[in-house]
Symmetry: C2
Subunit: 603 residues, 2 copies
């Protein structure tokens, strides 16, 4: 039995009904994805994920990567990864999101989200390589000169070359203002880059012919802080004007990290300009304007943050599939209600059932919310009128920290439950559940911790605009609440729980808006509980919408058992997850002072 | 800087005030521990934990254990463990809890809890060896014949020999009724044992001269199910009548598990009677009566469950200390409120502060509850009148699943937060936070999963007696609530949160009592959320008591900064943890139906 099968039925349900794929496929430039094309993409991606990527997931975890300091810090991937990557790029997957003018497929973000989810679920370590390349492609597409684009994009879009993001330095983690790497301008218009970067995902590996590092550094006369950071392209091998590869640049992987998870993914310490190949400095090329690097990086980072949210979804789906399979196959103990004879599968035991439902319903809510935000990104990019684009962009900006923060935190909970469902076997590495938990652990950390996301959410995304956008979200959620309540039956109960959730959000938003300028520290204590609340309520909103669609399908005589199951799942989410919303609001409104009251030295 | 320092100040506070150590030291048989003796024990244990056990924690995780199949399945411990164990037994620690008549120290359970917490925090893998030996000692003390006691106890109490518990079989995890191992009686009164046991902690190792396996097996004419299980002593080396070691018994470690955590602790697959040394079967000796094995094991298991709760406390304390140290030393970013100049330690950032407080206040609540339940165990064992002993025993029976379940689940949350506080460094194994998280993960699983604890709690401990004991706990908590409210100020706010928590418990208990016989499956869905609710509210109760003690100390003019800090910690716990109680009650009361509504095949 395959370890991972793409959940195509639920994916299609969310794409078609909740995220309205037909509307997205009508947007300018996406027309070719209408009808069968999207289905074909989903099927092909599912097949590739199950047959090529997933079988390498466990082997990659065991083998890890091999760093060869004696060979210039070269990193060798685990067995099978090179071949899988070659198949991946041969099939054209690497350019899935890139602009067709550079050879990309130009998939709508919505369709791309489903495709990404599959790769991430199948093999998180592998998926990070194309993810980082996509980010680098996007930065170059948006900010690179025509010459840089022409020289780099075709090979990066193809996948022959991969990309990296070089932000973090030992003294500058979440605080990019502290970046010290230097870029010294040369007479020929190039720069010499000096500095050390840490936590560089796929900073070196042996799957591609070249690696294109995007590096943040300061020019000599740059202003201090985040306003003095510039972005540079620093290729591992210099690129000749004819496009062929030239000399080895002075950019080396000088160490790799020994990590809790994603063992098959190289996480590198990169040294730029340390070896002295060119008499000092790695050769780099400015992207866009000097001192505007952070702005460009933020574009990449927003996309990357959204994608890390999808990583959470993918890992959670994988953990859920594994737990379900085990719980169905493991026969132990009697049915507590005495209704079933003999020993039963543990999925019949109420507490295991509760854990399975908690995994399932949260995964569904995560997917529903994630895909809807992907669709909003498409509207923000492609809607025909500017007002619509701006409206959706504001929604996207608001929701990206929620998707990143909530999907990844929930993924960790789901993977934790996955271990628990397995009992003692969950603690044994061979089972695989432990790997899911270890792999999931990075997702709440990289591309900005949950704390960073939450701070962005309450500050830049809510307080700065006086809550305008979140109030429109609240208004939309109220419409769903009303519709659920009018429908009666299960939807009504879901609507009541959703209503309490929305009340909790409103109460919290009022508190944040009132306190943000007055006592920013106390309000900031509430940021993560508020982010979780937003995730839960927005997830519950999408589950409510799903229940309405399901109810309508049943009313229309559709006998597919998927629909009643979706209603149960939404109801469970309301009873077990939305139920925590008032408590979270209580923490948000009431929790600031006591968190800050302790004298620092008494901690 | 040491990786772990025993938190002696908080330990002594809890021992002396909340758990009333003076009263325990007045119980018959504990008199020698009054006054300085207990202090000396705490200091010595703290020193041993910090200086001997803790430095081996990381090294043991890296090195793991070595299984040598060619050498009869012998297990070699990581470097330093043999020497540490020798020091441990030379100092007399191994017999800390055992009866002085067999050479033990006979520490009160309360003092023993503090001592255990230190060992577990310092080195969980190491601590499991004496923990298992203690369990085996306890089973023999309670149920063994005089001959067995004389032959085995002195060496086990000394630690020259260690003990194991052999319950689980591949097809019988939580369901001991499914045990198949066989015990065939011999003419000489011994038995021959056949079968395979899995997940046997310290099933083999090289730290002691002999290993005494306690094994559950069925005699040929035993009734089916749990009523046909007997308990046997199966020593690794047979013991001659003069006490010297004889032939190698047919009990071998045939495999070891590759686990997520506790890498330095051997988890063995044990085969009994497979090698044929004696023409078939391992030689075993019946403990107590035939078919009463499960009853004896349950005595051991209750003690072990309580101890695993303390493991949760220990790991959480270690994770907390590590996170605090890092957060204080890591300088990054500005003070968001603008009050402090320059870059500040991340402990000053509100979200990091919130996480630190969540770790600190929960660790304190866990310790307070755990130690109080330890003191109740002493009362249950030693109080002079039978009525008092019975009353405390009922409290202990009620609380053991709460201590086991809540302390371990919370430990996992705390260790998870510990990783998060470290940001990217948390994901790097060298930091140590990841090991805490990996090690903590077993605690909600072994000695009965959280689901098993919760089922025990609502069934045997509440429903079966119509809620008698839990109602007395509720009444006690109401007294604390009233006292807090009368005190005014911070205690009053804590009292209000506690009151809401107690309401939530009452509502949930009423639901459980009403539904248990009517719809046991639906009520069982609520078991784990209810267990968490109980843990939170009982922890909040103890924090409320701590706040009252602190308030009184301050009112009496005591200027120790420990007291105001304790009040802040209790208030934080009320605002951030007790605040979730009503939501949990909502899940308990309302969550059963939707968890069970999904058709099994639609999961």
């Amino acid at each position: 039995m395959a370890e991972y099968l793409a959940p195509l039925k639920d994916m299609r349900f969310v794409l078609q009904t909740l995220a309205d794929f037909d509307a997205i496929a009508r947007l300018p430039g996406y027309e070719e994805f209408a009808g069968d094309m999207a289905d074909a993409v989903l099927d092909a991606s599912a097949k590739f994920s199950t047959e090529v990527l997933s079988p390498l997931n466990v082997a990659g975890d065991r083998a890890g990567i091999r760093w060869e300091p004696e060979a210039g810090g070269r990193v060798r991937m685990a067995e099978g990864f090179r071949e899988a990557y070659q198949q991946f790029i041969d099939a054209g997957w690497n350019g899935y999101s890139a602009d067709p003018q550079h050879g990309g497929q130009g998939l709508p973000k919505l369709l791309g989200a489903a495709v990404q989810e599959m790769w991430m679920a199948a093999n998180l370590s592998f998926s990070l390589c194309p993810l980082l390349t996509s980010g680098a492609i996007e930065a170059l597409e948006l900010s690179g000169s025509a010459a840089l684009k022409a020289q780099y994009l075709p090979n990066m879009v193809h996948g022959r070359w991969t990309g990296t993001m070089n932000l973090t330095e030992p003294q500058a983690g979440s605080d990019l203002a502290a970046i010290r790497s230097r870029a010294v301008p040369q007479e020929d218009g190039t720069y010499r880059i000096f500095g050390q970067k840490i936590f560089i995902t796929y900073g070196d590996h042996d799957m591609s012919e070249n690696i294109i590092h995007l590096v943040l550094a300061r020019t000599p006369d740059a202003p201090p802080g985040v306003k003095g950071i510039s972005l540079f392209v620093v290729p591992k091998f210099l690129v000749n004007t004819d496009g062929s590869l030239g000399a080895r640049n002075d950019a080396y992987c000088v160490s790799v990290e020994h990590k809790l998870g994603i063992h098959a993914c190289p996480t590198c310490v990169m040294a730029f300009g340390d070896a002295g190949n060119f008499g000092g400095g790695a050769i780099g090329y400015l992207v866009g304007e000097e001192n505007a690097g952070l702005k460009y990086m933020f574009v990449m980072m927003n996309a990357a943050r959204f994608s890390v949210g999808l990583e959470g979804l993918g890992i959670a789906e994988r953990a859920w599939q594994r737990a379900l399979l085990y719980a169905r196959e493991r026969i132990q103990g009697r049915d507590i209600s005495g209704r079933l004879p003999g020993n039963v599968s543990i999925s019949r035991h109420p507490d295991v059932r509760r854990m399975l439902m908690l995994m399932k319903s949260q995964v569904e809510a995560m997917r529903a919310l994630g895909y809807c935000v992907a669709a909003w990104q498409d509207q923000a990019l492609r809607a025909s009128d500017g007002e619509t684009r701006a409206r959706y962009q504001a929604l996207v900006d608001l929701m990206i920290p929620v998707v990143k923060g909530w999907l990844t935190e929930t993924a960790n909970e789901v993977a934790y439950l996955g271990v628990q469902v397995h009992g003692g076997m969950g603690f044994i590495e061979e089972t695989g559940a432990a790997q899911d938990m270890r792999d999931a652990r990075i997702t709440t950390i990289y591309e900005g911790t949950t704390g960073i996301q939450a701070s962005d959410l309450i500050g830049r995304k809510i307080a700065r605009e006086g809550g305008t956008t979140i109030k429109t979200v609240i208004a939309q959620m109220r419409l769903t609440e009303a519709e659920l309540k009018q429908t009666g039956g299960q939807p009504q109960a879901i609507g009541e729980a959703l209503g309490q959730g929305i009340d909790a959000v409103e109460r919290s938003v009022a508190h944040i808006l009132a306190g943000y300028s007055e006592d920013i520290a106390a309000v900031s204590v509430d940021a993560v509980p508020f982010l979780k609340l937003m995730g839960i309520v927005c997830g519950g909103w999408q589950m409510g919408r799903a229940a309405l669609v399901a109810q309508a399908a049943i009313a229309a005589g559709n006998a597919d058992a998927f629909y009643p199951a979706k209603i149960v799942s939404a109801r469970f989410f309301a009873d077990h997850v939305l139920a925590t919303a008032p408590g979270l609001a209580q923490i948000v409104v009431n929790g600031g002072a006591s968190a800050l009251a302790m004298a620092e030295e008494m901690l």
